[in-house]
């Protein structure tokens, strides 16, 4: 084993990149769950976003338009879930699971002609001045723009939930939908918007995999990232700050174990691959505090 082949700066730098797809998907799901809806279809929305983003960006040549396409694709799939659960009152758990299976199949179909193609390149941003700082520069300020877009979204969601009137209403709907309805808030509309936002974020997360991280299209390429995003939301106690921490922790251990594998560590590969999941779960369980939104997963029907 040759640990000296691991460059700590590169390791930390790739941490942010590895965490971004999960962070994006998780922050979307956090908003959905704060509005009282449990959407287990994150994996399906992510992979649909991945294929939509890939197709759009290959045909337009622009990764930016690709990301927009991914967000729209994710949101459309999510609104299918929204209509089924909010207006046709189907069970959220079953519908979410079906959405994952549907998304995996749909993306495989859509991606038929795109296997083996390379995505248009999405250059890293070298942020002037900040990027030149030794050590910190390469770790934090020399990534592709989506890393920062993701961070901005997390920050915006935090501020939205904490300071805005609309965020207060969203939390109220998730906390007690009967009370929110009695006060005259549109429970279904708020939830539909939250679900579509969640789908768009999951789509962005998926597209980050197919356009930046890999970057090409393979069937089933999300490989469980959507489930980790779901788990992070729960273990982060539905708080954006903890969610960021959970996503970076997961990204960090993922990168570390890849590096250890490459360095030829004398531990079976399976244990190393397990490590990120195990570490994230353990840390977030230990930190766990707070409770789920009061109406999470319950079907709302304005009877009388």
């Amino acid at each position: 084993m040759d640990l000296s082949s691991i460059n700590p700066i590169l390791l930390l730098a790739s941490l942010m990149v590895a965490a971004t797809p999960i962070m994006l998907a998780a922050i979307g799901e956090l908003v959905v769950e704060r509005s009282g809806v449990l959407n287990l279809g994150v994996e399906g929305m992510m992979i649909t976003g991945a294929v939509c983003g890939f197709i759009v960006s290959v045909s337009t040549g622009s990764p930016w338009i690709g990301f927009i396409g991914a967000a729209i694709g994710g949101a459309i799939l999510a609104s299918l879930f929204g209509v089924l659960t909010q207006y046709l009152l189907s069970n959220q758990v079953a519908t979410g699971l079906a959405l994952t299976l549907f998304g995996l199949g749909l993306s495989a179909l859509m991606g038929q002609g795109y296997i083996g193609i390379k995505a248009p390149s999405f250059p890293d941003w070298h942020i002037p001045l900040l990027g030149d700082i030794p050590v910190i520069g390469p770790i934090v300020f020399q990534h592709d723009p989506m890393v920062y877009v993701g961070l901005l979204i997390v920050l915006a969601v935090w501020a939205f939930l904490k300071f805005s009137r609309a965020g207060l209403i969203l939390r109220a709907v998730g906390e007690n939908h009967d009370a929110a309805h009695a006060l005259g808030y549109k429970v279904k509309r708020v939830r539909m918007l939250a679900i579509m936002f969640g789908g768009a974020c999951a789509g962005l997360g998926g597209a980050y995999l197919s356009l930046v991280r890999v970057p090409q299209w393979t069937e089933g390429m999300t490989a469980g990232a959507g489930w980790i995003a779901l788990a992070i939301v729960v273990f982060a106690s539905w708080k954006p700050g903890r969610l960021l921490l959970g996503a970076y922790l997961f990204g960090g251990v993922t990168v570390l174990q890849l590096n250890l594998q490459a360095a030829g560590m004398a531990i079976p590969v399976e244990y190393l691959s397990m490590a990120p999941y195990l570490a994230t779960t353990v840390v977030l369980v230990i930190m766990r505090a707070g409770r789920a939104p009061g109406s999470l997963g319950r079907i709302f029907h304005a009877s009388r």
Partner: protein, 508 residues
Amino acid sequence: MSEILLALKGLSKAYPGVVANSDVSFDIERGEIHALLGENGAGKSTLVKTIYGLVKPDTGTMTLNGAAFTPAEPRAARIAGVAMVFQHFSLFDAMNVAENIALGMENPPPQREIAARVREVSEKYGLPLDPSRIVGELSAGERQRVEIIRCLLQDPKLLIMDEPTSVLTPQEVDILFETLRKLSAEGTAILYISHKLEEIRSLCDRATVLRLGAVVGDCIPRDTSARDMAELMVGAKLQVPTKAERAVGRGVLVLNGLSAPAPHQYGTPLRDINLRVRAGEVMGIGGVAGNGQDELVAALSGEMRTANGMVMLDEQPIGKLGPNARRKLGLSVAPEERNGHAAAGDMSLVENAVLTGAVRQGLTSRGFLRWGKARAYADQIIKDFDVRTPGAANTAGALSGGNLQKFVIGREILQAPDVLVVNQPTWGVDAAAAASIRQALLDLAANGAAVIVISQDLDELMEISDQFAALNEGRLSEPRAANGLTVDEIGLMLGGAHDMEVAHVATS
């Protein structure tokens, strides 16, 4: 004070299978306190929801201040000056007081300003409240203050109050009434809904009575007896439960220093409760909700285990036994929440009868259910306790609250327990059904059982109990003979007015 604020004309609303309101007309004057009376299902809720914009009437018109009033949603009603204090469902436990208040307002100011105004209003009307507290940690009385202040901050012209006093101590009720009278003197009209006729007699200027969705009369409550009003509501002569003379026997259920930690975050610990209930006696336990009632019931039923000697049945320690073992020994419990705790809503009445009756009625044999016997048992409950349902195959959730309550109580009584514990036996049950449930409890005691009734309805406890004790923050007061207790004495036993003060505004 003779200007008409809100006029209702010919309001009708039908749901599939039910007519909730039919041709309802009456007026509310500026600054008057107007009572709306009626049994459960008489259409009171639908009517106030119509005024508050939650329900659209099929026909009929409303006029507010001389202009047509057709609120499409609660927001429109609030802008027009109509505010409502709900009976349930309107607070958000995980949020603080200021956030809860902001949610009920149009264009709320920033949080800091809300906090300042909450302090101002609570000072003015004697309703102390800390804007930064989390609502889930407040007592029932404090939660109600949140709702009232939320309404008052919007300077309403009409304040609708749905059953506001069901969770308050007598002293707290007095202070609430003082606040309402002050509001009315300032020109705010109040539409007051309650079952409690004595309260209405002391508070309200006029009353409108609804039965089966239609107005059946109105009266001046001060000049009408409670009995006359009740008969107007029910449309029939009222049966008052009769207490038969009975011999009181030995102590069957004894609690020795019963203590237990709070079972969950918002629960109450039980603190050193000593009690002896004798055969043939009805022990009434009063107290404001959240002072340990649920925990006491859980400790008695066996849902919460305690040290063995803390609960004694017939001189036998049972503190560590589970509910079924206790049932077998003759201790039955009917908990408060009938749908979900006392009964499984999605299961049929037969299945629900099996759930608690299996042990004492022999409804199982070698692990198999004896459906024939179970069905006969369910039919007997339905017949003996006048449960109105098409049949025992119907689900428990399909029954109205009062009917399900009769079923739940009847299921326990027919098992002939030695001790029966009931929590809130007539909560949300209409007068006729409540009277028959109380009569059944008295009959059970007359047959030699010990009965513990836990309730927040003091009139009910005074009507049926022999002994009265009060729960306050998990402690039980010394039991006293119920005969001759005055309302003030009871109020003091309940812990008095929890830090409320009389309003500071001078009555003009």
